[in-house]
Subunit: 220 residues, 2 copies
DNA sequence: CTGTTATTCAATAACTTTGTTGAATAGTAT
DNA sequence: ATACTATTCAACAAAGTTATTGAATAACAG
């Protein structure tokens, strides 16, 4: 078959390899974690709930396909995404999936929308409200992800600590909570929790990486 | 394992399914063909070199993952991409692969650059030169793809007919050839052939779908 | 109703992917 | 050199993917 050995098919095989690397939910999760900042295998295993060996195996797939790169730092190997284009690719993949896969709508309706019947705050809306005193930004990611980068003026209270640290949120302003990405459960749950306590709260449509990718200001 | 049944993992599984659908070179080829316009299974099998059954099988994967949709028209089932966002996703995938997979560079060096040592004409450069009489646009795709849509003023001469139809190309202007996408062999070979005949020729960086996606004018 | 055309399905074999288990490797501290 | 920590590797079983083959299905013409 002449087509089999064509240079174009060879190139398509390489492109397909990249897509295949994205074709596993655990690897998508790992990439979303890497989107928050560089991280060790141990840290990724802990955050993802995978075994060490399995985490390492998936990271090899990501590294070999070019989506992630690694460097040694003492005993630790630190992984990160290979470039912002990988985050753009992830965003495009999510957008296409959200638009054409009905099951995603069903899952959103069945879980997330029960908890957040209000529309999320869009990036543009938030940009317009920064600085006018009407919004308190709440980052519910773990502290090390917050430290790697966060939205300007955001307060970091991981979800587990939210109930007992409510006093740290200024009175009056609406709370806008954000997390790792558009499907991160933590922001949804933070909003639900805040509303139970009588606070006005919504979640941000984006996670931190999407905000940064849009060229918007970030703090470290 | 609590993570296994989480709604987020369920959503990631759906997103992974879309990526998996892209994880096969034949399906990428089929999507590039669909990017040129709606087409029957028979037509896709002929253009791709796959068997009918195998073509149909791959199309089921594309349809179930939401990347393509189909409609019956008499005996024929016509497939098309489900939206322009699918083409944007393909572009993002190619971009990431080209940037991070060294084998793609090697393949490009080994085959394509032997035939086109000049840089391709960028979209912006072409936009600037349309209408000034310095460029002849040559579309080397099959006539049915040309008919579905082409760059303004482009002449359609499929590669196989180029040698004997050289007289149809106006004298003096540089020929810019384009095809289905950035890795389509036909544009490369057209440029090589034209240069052998003493004509000034380069290829366009984009294929027709990328041009249209950029909002640039198209003719039908 | 029958025959033709176009397409899809089911079953199969071969290959690939995934997660686990236990071993091997690399870097560091003593 | 030895022990410890972090990571990766190899082998394996189970599940999934791919291409092929032959059958089944849907639409149309006569």
């Amino acid at each position: 078959m002449a087509a089999k050995s064509s240079p174009k098919l060879s190139i398509l095989e390489q492109i397909a390899m990249v897509a295949k690397a994205l074709g596993n939910p655990h690897r998508l999760d790992l990439l979303e974690l890497l989107a928050q900042g560089e991280r060790s295998v141990e840290g990724l295993a802990a955050a993802s709930g995978l075994s060490f060996a399995n985490t390492s195996q998936h990271l090899q797939v990501l590294r070999r396909s070019g989506l992630a790169v690694s460097r040694r730092s003492g005993l630790h190997v630190l992984y990160r995404t290979s470039g912002d284009d990988v985050l753009e690719l992830l965003a495009a993949l999510r957008r296409t999936a959200a638009r054409h896969v009905e099951e995603i709508d069903r899952l959103m309706q069945g879980f997330f929308h029960q908890r957040d019947a209000l529309e999320p705050v869009s990036r543009d809306e938030l940009v317009g409200r920064l600085g006018d005193g009407t919004v308190t930004l709440l980052d519910v990611r773990p502290p090390e992800e917050y430290a790697a980068g966060h939205l300007p003026g955001a307060i970091n209270i991981p979800l587990k600590e939210l109930q007992r640290r409510l006093g740290e949120l200024p009175d009056g302003a609406e709370v806008v909570a954000y997390c790792r990405g558009p499907y991160c459960v933590l922001a949804f749950e933070a909003v639900a929790s805040l509303r139970e306590c009588g606070r006005a709260a919504r979640r941000l449509q984006d996670g931190f990486p999407e905000w940064r990718l849009a060229g918007l200001p970030v703090e470290t």
